[in-house]
Subunit: 389 residues, 2 copies
């Protein structure tokens, strides 16, 4: 992040935005923010001679913290010590207006909110960074579903080497939470980088990863289908449309990619609502997935995710009998990950008690903190090496 921008007149050569809106360029061009120092401490900067108060709020601050201004109008905040190795979000609050850091190119969207981010190396953050390793291909693909009578969009990761071999691969179906979409695991979840890095280190098997969109009221993420440039919202899909149509996802993947069509080469996992979906789908197709991952998952039959009409209410019924059938097929991995501050922690304890009651084997991975992306990246990094071995 130390790279300084060359003089801006060069920018005029080819950039339409510079050319058409030069007036919009403030003094932020040669400003470095964030700066990640060798000891992993972090400095945030913004240039604002006229502002009265600027705060930073992020995953590395203690609530809202003030930047301090020098006589030139430059504001700074220092972490005064190393920041954890991770992907960190933050936003600046300029005289009461919460916004991004204008000097930082890197911006993420979560549901409808945009925020600035950076990655601190030296630990788990190293898995979230693109490294100089062989890279997989990431595609935005449209598949047809007869069940819903439409085309829908999903993201498909194929591992490095896929295009140059005849090999068949196992498949992980990786599902987002409420408010997410087919971009969530790729952007916030860093699935692309985690997969590339774990596969390059030989820790995870090369696999295809399919990231669907469960907001069945739209066919794609905001702005990418015919639904207009709507403001993304927190609607999920718990009217059973997602679970009911999921066989069309598997059908598309298995007819369009070189995959091993065996339960021992299929995994399904998801976070929050996506954990709920993974659970329900694997219950209803007990012979399809030998690997199941529930990350901070809502739990069927314990928490009512959404009321209202269901396309096929049967998918949510007879949970205990379906669970027994699922475990009669001896899944190779039934993995539950949850933070001890998660609002779904007690629900997950109850689900675990149900598994214990049936003598159903599982892996329980408990972390600190709660329902946050930090945990979901940790769970994915821990889960992937356990698959298809």
């Amino acid at each position: 992040m130390r790279l300084h921008l060359p003089i801006l007149c060069a920018a005029l050569l080819a950039s339409g935005f510079f050319a058409s809106a030069q007036q919009a360029i403030s003094g932020a061009g040669d400003l470095v923010s964030p700066e990640i120092h060798p000891d992993n401490s972090v400095t945030i900067r913004t240039f604002a001679p006229d502002a009265k108060r600027i705060c930073v709020e992020g995953t590395f601050t203690n609530g809202s913290e003030d930047l301090t201004k020098d006589e030139s109008g430059l504001w700074e905040w220092n972490s005064n010590g190393p920041v954890d190795s991770d992907l960190h979000f933050y936003r600046l609050v300029v005289d009461g207006v919460t916004t991004v850091d204008v000097a930082n190119t890197y911006v993420y969207r979560d549901v409808w909110l945009v925020a600035s981010y950076f990655i601190v190396p030296g630990g788990k953050g190293d898995y979230y960074m693109a490294r100089d390793v062989p890279h997989g291909t990431v595609s935005k693909v449209w598949y047809h579903t007869d069940v819903l009578g439409t085309d829908r969009r999903m993201t498909v990761y194929t591992p490095a080497g896929y295009e140059d071999s005849h090999r068949k691969y196992p498949v992980l179906y990786l599902l987002h939470g409420q408010g997410g979409d087919e971009e969530a695991w790729i952007s916030l979840g860093r699935a692309y980088q985690i997969l590339d890095n774990l596969i390059a280190e030989g820790k995870a098997e090369p696999m295809i990863v399919v990231m669907t969109n469960a907001n069945c009221k739209h066919n794609a993420m905001a702005g990418e289908d015919g639904g207009g440039m709507f403001k993304p919202y927190n609607a999920g899909s718990t009217d059973s449309s997602f679970e009911t149509h999921f066989k069309d996802v598997v059908k598309y993947v298995e007819s369009h990619y070189r995959v091993i069509k065996k339960s021992s080469s299929r995994a399904i996992a998801g976070l929050s609502m996506g954990g709920f979906h993974s659970n329900v789908i694997s219950l209803n197709y007990p012979k399809t997935f030998d690997y199941v991952g529930l990350f901070s998952a809502a739990v069927p039959g314990i928490r009512v995710i959404a009321d209202g009409p269901k396309i096929d209410p049967g998918v949510y019924e007879d949970i205990d009998a379906k669970l027994a059938a699922q475990f009669r097929n001896k899944p190779r991995l039934y993995y539950i990950a949850i933070g001890d501050e998660d609002f779904l922690y007690q629900d997950n304890l109850k689900w675990r008690a149900k598994l214990d009651e049936g003598n159903y084997p599982y892996v329980w991975y408990e972390t600190g903190e709660g329902h946050i992306w930090k945990n979901w990246r940790i769970y994915l990094t821990d889960f992937l090496p356990r698959l298809f071995k």
Copy 2:
């Protein structure tokens, strides 16, 4: 853009950012900005009781224009009349800090700058919006180049139906300008939507479109290779590395996609530096491309794009002889598009004079304004229907 956000407590269910940084949520949640009214007038809003001055600067304003504040602390700006149908950028200036509109989910990056955007319908903007039509697949693909001894990333569009046929397709190589990368034509250029919409209307032939990255100092856009999370800058590649390695791009495409391997099914086009590259590459491979598009292009031999060492300086030499050879092969389309306010306008007039001198046929498409994305989207929309007919 009229959709209001449901109450935020729902958001807590599944969004890590909401859960970990609730304090960062200002009053912007239920604020609609921008609002595009039925007459295509536009309102920009932000909530900032403590700010002293807020301005908007964009492709639809006259420089910097002030928002006005009501007694509740809500700031508003109105266009007072329809805004042109187009994709529009803007940024807000809050007490001197230039930044994005926090209520708007839609953000683009141009070189290193982020800005908010919206699309006004009812004209050319309709081609830039995702519509309810069959959609192509967009993939981020890594190819190997022996010439540069590395893997590099590019974006590949395959048209709707590609995955479900045995048909072979023509290919357009579509090149970005200085400061751009493999994402530029997809995001700012709206190539994905323009292609889907023109193909669905029967105006353009279904084709594969290959969007490379010409910044040969990195193997991918910022943050996507092992080069770290650098701040994107305006470096291009005019040391001949891009032109010299381009045969490896064509080789990869023609060995990994179902393409028609004939000059009549190959096109190359680009904007600014990408127009320069298209020109130089088509000069050096006079039998490869029957379609050439130069959008606001820098012109070989007229303007020195960059000094310094060249990998293969020969690609920039003997222009006149190469041009004669190129036209002996009778390209089906040699297309030049330029705005009459472009700083490269005079250079393009000189290039046209050279073509006239040789009696080389071409299409000249002149628009108003200059070196801006608005024009490049217009040129692409005009160019695509002329290909492969």
